[in-house]
């Protein structure tokens, strides 16, 4: 799709808005509809749109696979880490109330971090899925780029 000028321009305009909206869904998830899963998918969709319009190689330059694998794992690690922090501070696993002196503030902090971990992993996995399937070619099909 390298020759479609309109697609290039529109995609370049759209992608920042998609990502800002993803961050809104991410951090507003405590109060309104949203959360890590939805935000992660939207954020990942930004990269996927870029990948569809500008090609796989360009996308791999922005998000190299080793980096995405690492962020996918870091998200899970953040999730578990917050849970373990609760255990060290005297609560149960994933008990956010003990994360701060004020239990309500602790719950806020906990869910924010947990959802951030979820969002990070989901966004990374979306990109990994896209890149893996973009790699796939039928054994004897012509390269029709």
């Amino acid at each position: 799709m390298k020759q479609h000028l309109i697609l290039h321009v529109i995609a370049k305009i759209m992608i920042p808005f998609i990502m800002v909206f993803a961050l809104y869904v991410q951090f507003h998830g405590d109060y309104g509809p949203g959360g890590g899963f939805q935000a992660g998918v939207i954020f990942g969709a930004g990269f996927i749109l870029y990948g569809i319009v500008f090609g796989k190689e360009a996308t791999m330059k922005i998000v190299p696979p080793p980096l995405v694998y690492t962020t996918a794992a870091l998200g899970v690690l953040l999730y578990t880490g917050v849970g373990v922090a609760g255990m060290f501070l005297g609560g149960e696993f994933l008990n956010y109330s003990v994360l701060s002196a004020d239990p309500v503030a602790g719950q806020h902090l906990g869910i924010l971090l947990i959802e951030f971990g979820v969002g990070m992993t989901v966004a990374s996995v979306m990109v990994i899925l896209f890149l893996s399937f973009a790699d796939y070619r039928q054994p004897d099909s012509q390269d029709t780029d």
């Binding site: 899970v76 690690l77 578990t80 255990m87 149960e92």
Partner: protein, 493 residues
């Protein structure tokens, strides 16, 4: 408080380790992490068992939200036993892995393999200790998804279609289970096992309960590879890397069997399984048919891993027979056989992995002269085989003894006869192996002694020795299995 954390740590430690491995991805370091997880989990599961023996069951509310609203982990002697099996088989599997994996999996994939392995262990531990039916589903998916990955690391390209087939079957199983859970939730408004057990007796005559029961049972039967739903297992075991097969054979179906027993006897009302729906007849029939027929299928296999995979389906059949008897003695026999079968089958698959390292093949033809060429490796397969038959002084004998006495308790003479017939059929395929390995001698041939590497032989022989030890002195395994059955069936000891 610290002692209560034990239950959460069983899941949290591997859950922390798995993403760490995914970040590091170097075979050596990820293996060390996996090993550390194994050691920690074994100590942890022993501590849990001791704690339960002294203070009774452990109840842990995740996130500080009390049940029935929050998720709780609930461990009594039944899951403590399964946890112990899973942890020890995992540790021995990891000790066994490096040499075996190196011969089959390219180095750049090994880090991912250990990551998936730790995740699989996370899922299996979670299934075992969770007291929440939906949480069980989540862990079932964690363990299944990582199992598909583990199988697809196999050397033979056919492992991919085996993994895909298992993926389709496993997804159907998980869906069935989830539909059943959904029906239960719509009826009772709770997902907590203890809470469900309290609310279901009032609703016993509703059809929804029966539908939920059917869905849950079929879903779990697929996961545990009970007879008509076993089709995914032979290929999955045959094409997975040897170390992975050894681990899966000892653990994967066991966790599903445990949930099966827990749900039908404890969560569903008392006598629902055996009295109200009379479905215990079906499980009993399926179990005994499976035990005899799949063992007969095993006779005709020429690939050792596939042969013993078919034998695994048969052994699950024996476990189902114990469940189908629906008595304390029957369920105790099932738990005992879970324990014993994990020991013997893992040892056999480990020894087959050793055979593969030496001969580069796992067909029965590779066994030629194996009795003289690698006496220790071959003896491990032989003792495992004898144990499958149920020869005295092996754990298999103890299992059969419990199972036969449980069936005689209900005057099922025909059942005892069929169990012994199953043993005879087992003897046929074990004899086939023995004959090739020990008696097909070519007098002119020089045989060079060439044993499997020590790092493979040691974990194998730990299990072989355990097999013989628990075959002679079954006080530990027998008493804990009986205790587990008493807990599940709600009989105070």
């Amino acid at each position: 408080m610290l002692s209560l954390h034990l239950s959460a740590l069983q899941v949290v430690i591997p859950l922390l380790a798995a993403p760490l491995c995914a970040i590091i991805r170097r075979p050596g370091i990820t293996w060390l992490i996996a090993l550390a997880v194994g050691i920690a989990s074994c100590i942890n599961s022993i501590a849990i068992l001791l704690h339960i023996n002294r203070f009774g069951e452990i109840v842990y509310s995740l996130g500080g939200w009390a049940a029935p609203f929050g998720i709780e982990y609930r461990i009594d002697s039944a899951n403590a036993l399964i946890l112990l099996i899973i942890s020890f088989i995992y540790l021995l599997g990891i000790i066994y892995a490096p040499v075996s994996i190196k011969s089959e999996v390219p180095e750049k994939s090994q880090g991912w393999l250990y990551t998936a392995w730790i995740l699989c262990f996370t899922g299996l531990s979670g299934i075992t200790i969770s007291g929440d039916v939906f949480n069980v589903f989540v862990f079932l998916e964690v363990s299944s998804l990582s199992t598909y990955i583990l199988i697809s690391f196999g050397q033979d390209k056919r492992c991919l279609s085996a993994a895909f087939r298992y993926l389709v079957m496993g997804t159907i199983a998980a869906t069935f289970y989830l539909i059943g859970v959904g029906f239960l939730y719509s009826l009772t408004g709770t997902l907590n096992m203890a809470d469900l057990a309290q609310r279901l007796p009032d609703l016993i005559s509703q059809n929804t309960v029966a539908v939920a029961f059917g869905f849950v049972i079929v879903g779990l039967a697929i996961k545990m590879a009970l007879f008509p739903f076993h089709a995914w297992l032979p290929n999955a075991y045959a094409y997975a890397p040897n170390a992975v097969t050894a681990f899966l054979a000892g653990t994967a179906t066991k966790a599903a069997v445990y949930v099966f027993i827990r749900l039908i006897f404890e969560v569903f009302p008392e006598d629902y399984f055996s009295g109200f729906t009379s479905s215990h007849h079906i499980i009993l029939a399926v179990g005994i048919i499976s035990a005899v027929i799949t063992s007969a299928v095993a006779i005709f296999q020429n690939e050792l891993k596939r042969l013993f995979a078919w034998s695994s389906i048969g052994q699950i059949g024996y476990i189902a027979v114990g469940v189908g008897l629906a008595s304390t003695a029957g369920v105790a026999a099932s738990f005992l056989h879970l324990f014993n079968h994990a020991i013997m089958k893992t040892a056999i698959f480990m020894a087959i992995g050793g055979l593969f390292i030496v001969t580069g093949s796992t067909t029965t033809a590779a066994l030629k002269n194996a009795g003289r060429r690698m006496p220790w490796t071959m003896a491990a397969i032989l003792i495992g085989g004898l144990s499958l038959i149920g020869v005295p002084f092996t754990t298999g004998f103890i299992s059969k003894w419990y199972l036969v006495s449980a069936s005689l308790e209900q005057n099922f003479w025909w059942l005892a006869g069929l169990i012994l017939l199953g043993s005879l059929v087992t003897a046929a395929y074990v004899w086939k192996i023995v004959e090739i390995a020990y008696f097909r001698k070519d007098p002119n041939e020089q045989v060079v002694r060439q044993e499997a590497p020590l790092s493979l032989l040691i974990p194998t022989w730990i299990l072989v020795v355990a097999n013989i030890y628990f075959g002679i002195d079954a006080r530990f395994s027998g008493s804990i299995a009986t205790q587990a059955a008493n807990t599940i069936l709600g009989i105070s000891p």
